[in-house]
Homo-oligomer: 517 residues x 2
């Protein structure tokens, strides 16, 4: 079982069906298969071999899909590059993976000049887009594919435990690391999603979240396995999103809560034709129930929540449609372990805890990574005892629903009590004048740690620190309330929109390394 | 990933839900888990160890389920015995597997006296049923479980590629063979069924087909994975089946077409309360469209067809509910490869054939057996090139739907033409006076093989051989028509109701070994 099988299957079962919707037409699975076979042959012709890397720095587009399948067919590793990184960070990923080829499009071609002097292994830069736009010193993807023959049959395909790609994650320890996901890992994840969500060949998925990230990446394979169609939004922008949904009659998409929020606050939402949407998967962070309630109302469809991380390809738990019933406690959970995932909550010495007790979420299953590329030390720690240690604090109830409480590293210990920052953040976020909020622990001589809130005010708000603290005192136990509040114009965020608490924490914990990393 | 995980998951997610419905009450998953833990500990206490076998000769009942889980938890191999075998055949399975324990119930306890002198490895016979009925020389399962403590936590569980059981098959070559199915094999099959059929925790499954056989066996794991409930029919009998459906509000069951036929011909069907039935899976052989049409009418629910064999745990293809639309060609297919199965039709030299060309069905996937126990020769032939050679002739259409034509060994070669016996059988079966029919090839000097029909007349019918032949000539190309007809009171059948063509063929082909085996 490898990922080549996914496309072979799609071609055999769904050859005449639409694989890709574009603004200028569509491609069937038969046609997509042929393009992938050309792409695979061209990659080999360019001298790339099994276990060598290709860096991909593209907006969402059909060629991303082609490169996923062509690399996985030939045993070449794909290295999706976070499009929001600085050139220095991009160079680190490309060099760390020893990528021999880099694929860019019009948006990222200008970065190449700045990148080149930093790169130690890239021999060829390939340009995706109109051949006429191809800058000097780059090879045109379009021209190369036109000239390439299809991959001849009979070549050895990768084994299921071979690596399919390096999916970099900033993680919370040890800087950026390449997560080695195997063919089996990604295939298992696809099967878990299909079993949980009932994906079908009638699905038309909009790749709206960035394709370099595992959240949307999950749709690459499960959708093709069931013969659904792919459509692409180059970059997420609410207006374009709504137009694409209407144009391609999109049925499903994967969003992060910040995107859902942006859509709900957008004036066009009420006027847009989004009746075709039946399934919105969201992940990366939970949505407060109040937001969920508005989202269901606005989008007119039920949501499915996924919790996971790149290291498990990426889905660990799913809160299914039928569990998104408001006014029950379950809707505040991130659902239950998907079918192949064995999930436990453990004490910090590794002993399993019963329902109701908070501890670290650990899991194992066929979707758990092979390890971090070239980082045996952190691999051994993260996978100790055969379990993936997520670094998340959670608890589950008697029915196995998992409730996320915090990151192990973000949890605040104050006066002998554990404070889970999302609970405090939710209380503050409920204030009508608060646009964004993040809570950290800062050193405190008396309590060990004190609670500090960073707040972004809504436009025209002049809310003060004492008002924020008073608001909390009316809603939370005293020890959970912040003792200081700082107002910022915006919170520092990573590539997928997650708030970077380590940036907020750094000035307070500098030279106290147990808390920064 | 092993089968212990399935029950552990069911307990964590569905602990309070009903695992087993009995006539005298029910058992939750929490309770079932506890009984399995006792059973596992008792098995180890009785001296059984990893990779040793327990033969199970039981009617359908809760203890069958317990033994499945208790053996798989401890790495012991379960050996389900076909309840329709002669004592000599049973002894062969038990000796071939070196089973150290044999478990029987009231129905099979009387066979033990005849079995004992033939057994070479069984040290202990265990009786399932009321302790008061336990014959001398046997150990009471009930008493043993009452006395056993639960398995202590922390024992090593089996690995995913460890064997979970030996599932004997008569097969068509080399006599009975133990199919080694691993934990991963059976787990993969369960996941494939869930993805194809959308099994849910609301399912209440009636184990109506014999549990020793892989067809119903498939429900053992997929049902527990989703938290559905099990109910048991000790032995299939239409009257009891209908009562059990009404009593337990059964939603799903797995039947073979002969059972569906028996139910449709039963006078109680029209009066029975079977409105709870939503999903009937059937397999082992296809149903003619005319029978399907009547069945959908009679049962008031849509059917799902599965094609497979013990060697692939057992499901290879599924014709889903939504494909059971009458008046399309697809309804005559056995559906498409399930999600994890890579299926090809190959020429007899192993080259893949395009849609429309008949050839042998071969497949690979995580559900394909480890091999035949102690039969490396036949294992190597059957799994040559990494593909399971099914011995079935079929073809697929442009959408990947598979059409079964015949067994490779049953196919008749006459005058240079291939005749697929099911086509001829279907034509004859359509005659209102024909109850059963089987077609074989017999040696013929002129044509190589001639076509012979064995017919079972309906009660009060006196249809003649020339009438049968004339009926065929009006419906089939000339070379497909039988040249001789023989009337029998019944067709010889195997344990799962399949017609044993080799018994019919034997007198004609004796001393011509290329055709008999």
């Amino acid at each position: 079982m490898n990922l080549a099988f996914v496309l072979r299957r799609a071609r055999r079962l769904y050859g005449d069906r639409v694989a890709v919707y574009r603004d200028d037409g569509h491609l069937t699975y038969e046609h997509l298969y042929e393009r992938v076979m050309r792409c695979a042959n061209w990659l080999l012709g360019a001298g790339l071999r099994k276990n060598q890397c290709v860096g991909v720095l593209l907006e969402n587009r059909q060629e991303y899909l082609e490169l996923h399948y062509a690399t996985s067919w030939t045993g070449i590793w794909i290295v999706p590059i976070n499009i929001r990184l600085s050139p220095g960070e991009m160079a680190f990923w490309l060099n760390d993976s020893a990528s021999r080829m880099l694929v860019v499009d019009k948006r990222f071609a200008p970065v190449v000049d700045e990148l080149r002097p930093k790169l130690t292994s890239v021999e060829k830069v390939v340009f995706v887009g109109s051949e006429a736009d191809c800058p000097g010193g780059m090879e045109s993807y379009d021209a190369s594919l036109s000239n390439a023959a299809c991959l001849p049959p009979g070549l050895d395909e990768p084994a299921e435990d071979d690596v399919a790609g390096l999916f970099y994650t900033s993680g919370t320890t040890g800087g950026p690391k390449g997560v080695m996901l195997t063919h089996r890992n990604l295939y298992a994840n696809a099967l878990h999603v299909i079993a949980a969500c009932g994906a079908a060949s009638s699905w038309i998925h909009l790749h709206a979240a960035p394709m370099f990230h595992a959240a949307d990446g999950t749709a690459t394979y499960y959708l093709s396995l069931v013969g659904g169609a792919h459509a692409f939004l180059p970059v997420f922008e609410p207006e374009f999103f709504l137009k694409a949904v209407a144009r391609h009659r999109i049925t499903t998409t994967i969003l992060v809560p910040t995107m859902i929020n942006a859509l709900m606050n957008h004036p066009s939402l009420g006027k847009a034709d989004i009746a075709s949407l039946t399934d919105i998967l969201y992940g990366a962070s939970p949505m407060p129930e109040s937001v969920m309630r508005r989202a269901i109302e606005h989008f007119g469809c039920i949501f499915t929540q996924a919790y996971g991380m790149t290291e498990c390809s990426p889905i660990a738990t799913i809160l299914a449609k039928q569990d998104h019933v408001l006014n029950t406690r379950k809707v505040n959970s991130c659902g239950r372990a998907v079918l192949g995932v064995d999930l436990q909550i453990t004490d910090f010495d590794g002993s399993p805890l019963p329902p109701g007790k908070p501890g670290e979420i650990v899991l194992r299953g066929p979707n758990v990574m092979k390890g971090y590329w070239n980082r045996p030390d952190i691999t051994a720690t993260t996978l100790r005892g055969g379990w993936l240690h997520t670094g998340d604090v959670g608890t589950f109830d008697g029915d196995g629903y998992v409730y996320l409480l915090d990151r192990v590293k973000d949890m605040i210990k104050t006066g002998g009590e554990n404070v889970y920052t999302p609970e405090v953040e939710a209380a503050i976020f409920a204030h009508p004048e608060v646009a964004e909020v993040a809570i950290i622990g800062v050193p405190d001589l008396k309590w060990g740690e004190a609670i500090k809130a960073f707040v972004v005010r809504r436009p025209d708000s002049a809310i003060s620190d004492t008002e924020v603290i008073d608001w909390c005192r009316q809603r939370l136990t005293h020890f959970k309330c912040p003792s200081s509040v700082e107002f910022l114009p915006a919170l520092p965020k990573g590539g997928t929109g997650k708030v970077l608490k380590k940036v907020l924490r750094e000035p307070y914990w500098r030279n106290r390394d147990q808390q920064i990393s």
